[in-house]
């Protein structure tokens, strides 16, 4: 069963991170391949994602069920494919941690900022700007995701899923972090 973990430090207090992530509507569109999601209850929702793993470029519907809602520390969930034989789950954990020192990178001028923005736009990647000063509080955000394709094709699909999951997981965590740092700084 492919399982990936990505961890990143957000220069924002844990309560603020939790306030953001506890509402899936806030971050759902940040998921790679996100099409839509429908909230059915506080613990259940159906997600429509477009996956592209080699020969399988599919729109997948996944039923998400929250199994542990333990704010502001952790949320755990299961995923069940509605139109594909795939199951999985994951955990999002939030831990207070020491703030990172501000990045030593030189301050970017307007042209460099434009280039960084263009790069992010073209490559779909998150360029988190360096913080001007060390935040007073920080949170380690760790996202773990596992998926297991069933059926006869399972071994092949799992082999294809594995390399696709890691960047998707990292991308989500970094987008959440970038969004929180940007909005927190604005306040």
């Amino acid at each position: 069963m492919p399982e990936v973990t990505h961890s990143t430090v957000v220069g924002v207090p844990r309560d603020a991170v939790w306030a953001f992530v506890k509402d899936m509507d806030n971050w759902a569109p940040m998921l790679t391949g996100y099409q839509k999601h429908v909230r059915e209850s506080d613990t259940d929702s159906v997600w429509t994602l477009k996956g592209d793993v080699g020969i399988l470029a599919r729109v997948v519907e996944l039923a998400a069920h929250v199994t542990e809602w333990c704010g502001p520390e952790r949320v755990s969930f299961t995923l069940t494919g509605q139109n594909e034989p795939v199951e999985g789950g994951g955990t999002l954990t939030l831990e207070p941690c020491e703030p990172s020192a501000p990045a030593a990178a030189p301050r970017m001028g307007p042209f460099a900022r434009l280039l960084a923005w263009l790069f992010a736009l073209l490559h779909g990647k998150v360029a988190r700007p360096a913080l001007a000063e060390a935040p007073r509080e920080a949170t380690r955000l760790t996202f773990t995701l596992r998926m297991d394709a069933g059926g006869a094709m399972g071994p092949l699909v799992n082999a294809m899923l594995a390399p696709a999951m890691s960047p998707a997981c990292a991308d989500l965590a970094e987008k959440i972090a970038a969004h929180l740092e940007q909005t927190h700084r604005a306040h």
């Binding site: 470029a57 599919r58 139109n83 006869a152 071994p155 082999a159 294809m160």
Partner: protein
């Protein structure tokens, strides 16, 4: 154009526009003739349409046949190619394919390390009904290719959304082919995927990219569209290309080889040249007819063969499936599976659904009385027995099919209504089909009589591999769309040295073309899989030979 005489950003002897088998054949051959070469590729990865293909190269009288003790006299291959051409080929170009094909294939094995193998037991399309056909030996494919040996090009060389990962034809047929998908060794395929073992088109182009970009260090630029040919004194001397939104000008001292594929994604060319009201493509969206646009802009002649029987398929677009921002059309083999038929709007069968050489021209047939294409689009209809046993594209047997793709009904009449076809006629058609299935003989269209069709679309566990009744509800159906594979009816007219000919008849100095950018005057009005890759290989090679002598 901002170019002024003498202001070149770079120069080389030979520039190859496109990185499919035609472009890389030219690049490798030119390099080995001591010429400096640059490859410019518009797509974000190397490999072109060849990497999306089955990786078959059809070579009568090839050296591996001889090594395996298979006798294939040249007259035999000639007879088959003439049958396919049906009078529409240029005899000289066809003879070039026949005589130089085996030599050039072997050259790439010996000089460039391309490891060919025979596809065992795979018959010519028309075997045994057409003259000169053989039961095995003419299809070559490559041994599995290790992607890791591509170095920096590993993730910049195309895999295919259309072909099985990491296996050979021999393995696929040994597992029973498409109809026996449940018996495929997916554990082995998963391991091969993790190890980046590549087969079919991606494997073949892996060997060529390695030979060109890794072993010979030929420079290649992806995401780099060539927009314009630069002419001095009537000769092509270079190009204007675009990369990252900027023009740059490259001089090509010995020649420019246009190997940029056909025109599947051009907004007008398919309708103009393929004579169908709509077109879809399995190719990369960058296949936009660039070679035709650039070459005709300087007076090149466009030639064509009858469009009715070339390499194309019908297929479907699964809602939501895209590649590189455009709809992904999947080719459909399912019409030849047991428990499935094709019908037209009138609810009637009109061809042997297992043999696309039969159904393509009949799908294009024009009714001059009603002024319609009565068989366009065709509809694929199948039953619950099919669903239990066979896949639909990448949907496994029994797996739910999207309602937005496939209509479902408890009766054939109701299915006809949902599809907008004559339900009463559909019932009668299926009743007749089911009667014929009982006898194992299709008296109407002779379905199941081609060994090639049995291997590609049949269930070889059955008496007639391509026949099975539609007698178990619910019933399913969908309209099919054109699934072009970049093998087009029209292209640039070239001579035996692959030089592009001006509309007045003389060669345009310094301009060559190969593969699907050229008119298929070497194959004529018919088709046989593996011929497109062969003509790319031969065209690119002879272009390099000529450029080396300029």
């Amino acid at each position: 154009m901002a170019w002024k005489i003498g202001r070149w950003d770079a120069s080389c002897d030979v520039m190859c526009v496109g990185s499919g088998i035609g472009g890389l054949s030219a690049a490798i051959a030119a390099h080995d003739a001591k010429l400096s070469v640059v490859v410019l590729e518009k797509a974000p990865k190397l490999g072109g349409v060849s990497a999306y293909s089955g990786g078959e190269v059809f070579v009568p009288n090839n050296h591996l046949m001889a090594a395996a003790g298979i006798v294939d006299p040249i007259e035999q291959g000639r007879a088959y190619l003439r049958f396919l051409a049906a009078g529409w080929a240029d005899p000289g170009k066809q003879e070039q394919l026949l005589t130089r094909g085996p030599e050039i294939v072997r050259w790439f094995e010996q000089r460039a390390g391309v490891r060919w193998k025979l596809v065992a037991g795979f018959p010519d399309y028309h075997y045994p009904k057409a003259p000169g056909t053989v039961a095995t030996g003419r299809y070559l494919e490559c041994e599995l290719f290790a992607g890791k040996s591509l170095g920096e090009w590993k993730d910049k060389t195309y895999l295919s959304p259309h072909m099985p990962n990491g296996i050979t034809h021999d393995e696929m047929f040994a597992w029973g082919g498409f109809t026996h998908i449940r018996g495929w060794d997916f554990a082995l395929m998963g391991k091969r995927f993790r190890d980046d073992q590549r087969g079919f088109g991606p494997g073949m182009m892996g060997w060529f990219v390695k030979a060109a970009m890794v072993d010979r260090a030929i420079p290649a630029h992806v995401g780099c569209a060539v927009r314009e040919l630069i002419v001095e004194g009537g000769a092509v001397v270079g190009v204007r290309a675009e990369k990252d939104g900027k023009d740059f000008f490259v001089r090509a001292r010995r020649g420019v080889v246009l190997a940029a594929g056909g025109y599947d994604w051009h907004p007008r060319f398919p309708r103009s040249f393929e004579l169908l009201p709509s077109w879809g493509s399995m190719c990369q969206p960058t296949v936009e007819g660039d070679a035709l646009v650039m070459a005709t802009s300087i007076g090149a002649e466009v030639a064509a063969v009858p469009a009715h029987n070339l390499g194309m398929f019908f297929g479907y677009q699964v809602p939501g499936e895209t590649h590189e921002g455009k709809p992904l059309v999947r080719g459909s083999w399912e019409g030849g599976f047991p428990h499935a038929i094709w019908v037209n709007r009138a609810g009637k069968r009109f061809a042997d659904e297992s043999f696309y050489r039969d159904y393509l021209p009949k799908t294009r047939a024009w009714d001059g009385v009603t002024q319609t294409l009565p068989n366009f689009p065709p509809y694929l209809v199948f039953d619950a027995s099919y669903r239990e046993k066979y896949p639909l594209g990448t949907f496994f047997p029994g797996q739910d099919l999207p309602e937005s793709l496939v209509a479902r009904a408890d009766t054939l009449r109701e299915l006809g209504e949902k599809l907008g076809i004559d339900g009463e006629a559909l019932e009668a058609t299926v009743a007749r089909w089911n009667e014929q299935c009982a006898s194992g003989r299709d008296a109407d269209f002779d379905r199941g009589t081609y060994p090639w069709a049995a291997m590609m679309t049949g269930d070889r566990a059955r008496t007639n591999p391509n026949m099975g009744p539609l007698d178990k509800a619910p019933f399913y159906g969908l309209p099919l769309v054109v699934a072009g594979v970049g093998v087009n009816a029209a292209g640039l007219r070239t001579d035996l040295d692959a030089r592009v000919l001006h509309v007045r008849g003389e060669p345009i100095e310094g301009l060559y073309a190969a593969g699907n950018s050229t008119a298929p005057l070497d194959i004529g009005a018919g088709y046989q899989s593996g011929l497109s890759n062969l003509r790319g290989l031969v065209g690119g090679f002879v272009a390099a030979e000529h450029a080396a002598k300029r």
